[in-house]
Structures are given as C-alpha cells and as structure tokens.
Amino acid sequence: MLLIHCPYCDETLPEPEFAYAGEAHIARPADPMALSDEEWRDFLFIRSNPRGNHFERWRHVNGCGRFFNAVRDTVSDKFAMTYRAGEPRPNLDALKEAAE
C-alpha cells in the first residue's frame, strides 16, 4: 500500500484513496481526424513503460476527486514528486540538483 501526496489536498494519504490512471503527458490530439493511423496508434496504445522514473497519472478518487500527475520510480515504487494536472512535465535533473 503506497503513500501518495495529493497536490490538491496537500496531504500524504494511503493508496486506497487513489486510483492509478496510466501514463501522463499523453495529451489527446486537438484534431484526431488529421492523424495518420500510426500516429493515432501511438496516442492510443504506445506506452513508455520505463524501468525507472515514470510520469503517470493518479486520481484522488476517494478524496478531492482530482486527477494529478506523479513521477514514480517503477523499480522502487518511490514517488519523486506529484503535481497538478496541466502543469508541465518537470525536469527531473533540475529536481535532483535542487535536492542536492
């Protein structure tokens, strides 16, 4: 059971309050009909699935109800950070430097 920081509630809370919602920063194309079949496939199905830092979405479904983004190491399952939906993809190197 993970502990997850909700950036809207500003509280760190147990996993049962949250639902995982897949990879983050895969924006729905503004005009899907203009996309090739391959481009549309990439949007629908292709996922980075990394060993290491993963940009992903969670929803505080049993809480404030908001979707938000997180960076989590898929090997240790540790969260590096969470941030609100709509905020840009954080620069992890900068983040690491700031921590040091």
Partner: protein, 176 residues
C-alpha cells in the same frame, strides 16, 4: 433527534446512531465565483480542502478545489436550491437522499473507524472533514469533536457499513 440503532451492543466505548435527513447539496464552482456564491448563500465557503464553515444553521465542507458539501435545515432546502440562479457558473445538486450519515461517538470511536479507514484519523482536526474510504466504500468523514464523528456513505452501501460498524463495536466492547 437521533435514533439509537438497537442492534448495536450497549457499550460505553462507542455508540453509533443514524442521523435524520436534513438537506444536503453538492456545490461546484470555480474559485472566481466563490465570493459571489458566498454572498448569495449567506455562508462562507472555505477555500482549503477539509475545512468547514458554519453560519445561521448552514454548513459548508470543502471536499475538492471546486467542491463543497452544503448541509442546511430541511426547511431551507428550496431557498438554497434557488439561491444561485443566474450569473454564477456553477452546479448545485441536491444529494440529501443519496447518503446515510452515521454519528459515531465515544472513546472507542477512533478504534472503530480504524477497522475500515486507512488514513490516520487521529490527525483529522476537530471541525474538519474529508472524503475517504471505509473498507472499500467511499465515505465523507467529519470530526465533530474529539470523540465524535459523522460518516456519510451512499445509501445502498449503508447496511454493509452498518454491519461492519456493529461487528467492530462488539469487538471493542469485548476489549480484545
């Protein structure tokens, strides 16, 4: 007026009752509309999730960045329902009948809640609340006093939650 549920074991440790229905609304609006809505409702709308406000028998609990639960006397339901007509982009939906609200009180109330709630309820300050989950059932918990809580769940889940609370209350009464 609250009615004691007969099937709960008599225990000084914890008592569980069902609160009667008054009127409850879900209010949704953007931060920019908050002040206008406060004026229209005659009730401050707290801007931090988990905070409550009360005025004139009306009460607001902030559940999300754009969401409040409003509890008002039944007699004022119609007035509240119409209060925000015109001008303010919002959603105001009556949900009185959607929910059953349990009142849990006594020195064993924290232990009883801990049978189903994963978050640390001790850290919930008096006068604050949160949407959370009780053994898989979504619930809104408010700490009314040090040892006094309300727990609201959707109607069709209420008997399940009630039975678990009963089982937990019996266990706490046994002192095991």
């Amino acid at each position: 007026m609250t009615a004691q549920i007969h099937s709960f074991p008599r225990s000084t440790a914890v008592a569980v009752t069902v609160l009667p229905l008054e009127a409850r609304f879900s209010l949704r609006l953007r931060a920019a509309s908050r002040e206008a809505a406060e004026a229209a409702l005659g009730l401050p709308l707290p801007d931090r999730i988990g905070r409550t406000s009360e005025q004139g028998g009306r009460r607001a609990l902030c559940l999300g960045p754009d969401e409040w639960r409003l509890d008002v006397p039944a007699a004022e339901a119609a007035a509240v329902a119409g209060a925000l007509e015109g001008g303010i982009p919002h959603a105001l939906v009556e949900v009185t009948d959607r929910e059953v609200t349990f009142l849990i009180e006594g020195p064993g109330s924290l232990d009883l809640l801990a049978i189903g709630i994963a978050r640390d309820v001790r850290r919930l300050e008096v006068g604050r609340g949160a949407r959370t989950v009780f053994d898989g059932v979504q619930a809104v918990l408010v700490r009314e006093g040090e040892e006094r809580f309300t727990l609201a769940v959707w109607r069709s889940y209420a008997s399940h939650v009630e039975e678990l609370l009963r089982q937990g209350a019996r266990e706490i009464a046994l002192g095991l």
